[in-house]
């Protein structure tokens, strides 16, 4: 159980976290979503006792992170974003070292157990410097699991992994849900949807949305765009769709024709369907365009951002987009 109340973190003039509150329940995976620099890592560092908050309170596993830091640290497993490891040690040696410091009984056996759990038994005696990025990530995860913590805090555990490794890590995280509280940060929405029971979306140090993935998606899709695919000539169809009064914009994409509604609250789908039926076109597909994380951010942060910030964000999202498109296509291929 993690309870965060009005947590604030200032770095000099800059306020990285501006009074956030949320609850992560035991037996659930709570996803912590946000663009880079949103305050995810800062929040996680405060929850693990690495950094004290400027103001506010956080209760982790029943103890205050500031007042009873040692009690919290005993009960938390933490995987930092950069996965810092001692590169000169073997995977087994590193885990035994961490186990000794934590005072885990039967360190040797425990290290073997967690290595088995993350699927690294065959590389247990390899020096960490020789392991691939994905394997190192798993060593870091094994370290977080070593002492059977009540609370697991994982900062972007799947970043930089190949699709198969991503699936493996997600499986491990899903299995952990039963006996643990898991707080899991990511910026890939599809991942959050698959793994998390509850999502907390953070932007510029404030929580902009909270709820189950299905809830959030449903809320946001209402204002979303529509994908239309027919067998009729594209130009003709686009021309016809443009004449619908509730439609603001029609464009052609690789997926098909994308229709943007004029008013978020008015769904243009009935009219689109009508036009297609009237013209006797053969319809292949008519569905809301999947909402991706970038769109959610745009949607949720539009009101708060100033024009300059908005411009920055668009640039930033363009970069992010490239990454998530790649990871999504890769995922597609592994599912096949």
């Amino acid at each position: 159980m993690i309870e965060v109340q009005n947590l604030v973190k200032k770095y000099g003039e800059v306020t990285a976290v501006k009074g956030i509150s949320f609850v992560a329940k035991t037996g659930q995976v709570t996803g912590f979503l946000g663009p880079n620099g949103a305050g995810k890592t800062t929040t996680m560092r405060m929850l693990t006792g690495f950094m004290p908050p400027t103001a506010g309170k956080a209760i982790v596993a029943g103890y205050d992170v500031f007042e009873q830091s040692m009690e919290v640290r005993k009960r938390v497993g933490y995987l930092p974003e950069s996965v810092p490891l001692y590169r000169d040690m073997t995977a087994r040696g590193y885990l035994q070292y961490m186990g000794e410091i934590r005072g885990v009984n039967g360190t040797r056996q425990k290290a073997a157990e967690v290595l088995e759990r993350v699927g690294l038994t065959s590389r247990a005696n390899s020096r960490i410097r020789t392991l691939s990025k994905g394997m190192r990530q798993r060593v870091g995860l094994a370290q977080a699991l070593l002492h059977d913590p009540e609370v697991l805090i994982l900062d972007e555990p799947t970043i930089g992994l190949d699709p198969i490794q991503v699936l493996e890590i997600r499986d491990v995280v899903r299995q952990l849900r039963e006996a643990h509280t898991v707080l899991f940060s990511t910026h890939i929405l599809s991942e959050a949807e698959q793994v998390c029971d509850n999502l907390v979306i953070i932007n510029q140090g404030t929580i902009v949305a909270e709820g189950s993935p299905a809830q959030l998606r449903a809320e946001l899709e209402r204002g979303g765009r529509i994908l239309v695919r027919t067998e009729a000539p594209t130009e003709t169809v686009m021309e016809a769709l443009r004449s619908i009064p509730t439609v603001a914009h029609v464009e052609q994409t690789v997926e098909g024709i994308v229709v943007t509604p004029r008013d978020v609250s008015v769904d243009p789908r009935p009219q689109i369907a009508q036009v297609i039926v009237q013209n006797n076109w053969r319809l292949i597909e008519l569905r809301p365009l999947a909402v991706n994380l970038e769109e959610i951010f745009l949607e949720l942060t539009r009101q708060t951002a100033t024009p300059e910030e908005e411009e920055e964000k668009v640039k930033h999202i363009a970069d992010e987009n490239a990454v998530s498109v790649i990871s999504e296509t890769e995922e597609g291929s592994t599912h096949e």
Binding site: R45, T48, G49, F50, M51, P52, M70, R73, K74, R75, V76, Y78, P80, S82, P84, L85, Y86, R87, D88, M89, Y97, M98, E100, I101, R102, G103, V104, N105, Q143, H147, D148, E150, A179
Partner: protein
């Protein structure tokens, strides 16, 4: 795993500061004996001592060479301004740079615990190098009659002196994450403390006061702050005074305390 066994495991895990110091100590000491730097330092020192020892013994073969034994530990204490920072520069700077400090600081272990563990490891390494120079003592013992009492003072002094220098240069490893910068600042600090005698001479040559006694007291105070005043004129000649031992012990404790505080404030700045 059922919830009962989870509970058992959670209760079974216990942490003691001594166990943690031991774990950190073992790892760091192992690193020294696996790292090329430590071997290079030991090799260079022992080669130098060997050459000096051989030339001294062969030149003084007509006289009793017993005093030469003292030359080697005292040379080691001088060279420590260079060797100490080289040995300690990695200790905390590397952890900061690699980010492993973040993991260490979220473990149920206080900063002082792992700093003490690391310090004891580097002091042990130094002790091993110092102990290796006892070879010359054994040789002298075979060909002459060295002053055993004085040797105790010389070696005890060199050992404490080393501890103080290592603790002081370790402070800089906590200040910066750049190992080279840490080494240079450490060397400068230790050299200043080594040269306090010169500063004292300079102070006593000044005539800023009517009262010559005041100048003399000031010069003495400066001298007492330095490392050499507590070694070269006391333990080096076989005089073991409590105040000198306390001086080195105080330096070690103060330096470790400062290091701990610096690492703690890293937490606030991070």
């Amino acid at each position: 795993m059922s919830s009962e066994t989870v509970q058992e495991v959670r209760q079974a895990s216990s942490t003691s500061a001594l166990g943690q110091i031991w774990a950190v100590y073992k790892r760091e000491l192992g690193l020294y004996f696996r790292s090329p730097v430590a071997y290079a330092v030991a090799f260079a020192l022992l080669l130098l001592f060997g050459l000096i020892f051989t030339s001294n013994v062969s030149q003084m073969n007509q006289r009793a060479p017993a005093d030469n034994l003292n030359f080697i530990p005292s040379l080691l204490t001088f060279l420590l301004f260079l060797v100490g920072p080289l040995l300690t520069m990695r200790l905390l700077a590397e952890e900061t740079r690699e980010g492993t400090l973040e993991v260490l600081m979220t473990l149920p272990m206080s900063e002082s615990t792992f700093i003490i563990g690391k310090f004891l490891a580097v002091w042990t390494y130094y002790t091993v190098v110092l102990a290796l120079t006892l070879v010359y003592y054994l040789i002298l013992n075979a060909i002459g009659i060295p002053d055993h009492g004085r040797a105790v003072g010389v070696y005890l002094g060199a050992w404490l002196y080393g501890g103080a220098v290592l603790a002081i240069s370790m402070v800089w490893s906590a200040v910066t994450e750049d190992q080279i910068v840490a080494a240079f600042l450490g060397a400068a600090t230790v050299l200043i403390l080594y040269l306090a005698d010169l500063a004292a001479q300079f102070v006593s040559s000044l005539s800023f006061s009517e009262n010559p006694q005041l100048t003399e007291n000031l010069a003495n105070a400066v001298r007492e702050l330095g490392l050499t005043a507590h070694y070269n004129s006391t333990m080096f000649v076989g005089v073991i005074r409590a105040e000198d031992i306390l001086y080195f012990v105080f330096l070690i404790i103060a330096a470790l305390f400062i290091t701990t505080r610096i690492v703690e404030t890293r937490r606030w700045r991070a």
